[in-house]
Symmetry: C2
Subunit: 127 residues, 2 copies
């Protein structure tokens, strides 16, 4: 069992092209022998945003603090503490901080190989 407060986990800048003012913590992942999916926590500074992009795997998001919008394609949808967002595979999306304090959220993803090429194919690749 791993038990840790999220603030004790190293928070590293997100270097992905298109990311502005984003930092990320990996809270639970493959390094912990998590078998299926990874829990990350993001902090987006006021005025900052995640990349506007799309990919073949899903996001399961829970907003912890702050206010912002998630772009559903080009439509801005407001988010705040307690908002849940499911981004399905291949949906264009971006998270933007429109408030004056950090926008903090959890964003969980399936393990990369499985998520990128589909659950059945990728899972079998580890055999």
């Amino acid at each position: 069992m791993k038990i840790v407060h999220y603030e004790q986990v190293e928070c590293a800048p997100v270097q992905t092209e298109g990311a502005v003012g984003c930092r990320m913590r990996c809270l639970i992942g493959e390094a912990d022998a998590a078998p299926s999916f990874t829990m990350r926590q993001f902090e987006v500074a006021p005025g900052g945003h995640t990349p506007k992009h799309t990919h073949g795997f899903e996001h399961e998001v829970f907003v912890l603090e702050g206010t912002g919008v998630v772009l559903e394609g080009n439509v801005e949808r407001p988010v705040k503490a307690g908002t849940v967002v499911f981004v399905a595979p291949n949906e264009p999306h971006q998270f933007r901080n429109t408030g004056a304090t950090p926008l903090k959220f959890l964003c969980l993803i399936p393990h990369p190989l499985r998520g990128m090429v589909g659950p059945c194919i990728a899972a079998c690749a580890c055999e």
Copy 2:
């Protein structure tokens, strides 16, 4: 894309044997066509607890509000808002509310078939 505030989602009593004062919301799951894992939110009343049990799949937990303990086997480990808990497959565990307010946490699990029999075997079973 699904966007909802968690409090808008129905909160149902947990009927599992050994659960006391527990309610659960399914925030993102197979009904949303989530491919890999499910986000649930639990609320445990003061004095309440989840079942003390073990199973073949993992939990990825983030505590939102309240105070309590998670039993790692028979050892009580404190949790509070911001605590992250990874319960590996087959680890005995229980969450108990030791405070005066609801203990609220997210608890994510892999989709049942995959989680119960191991990621490779179960994923291939859907082909």
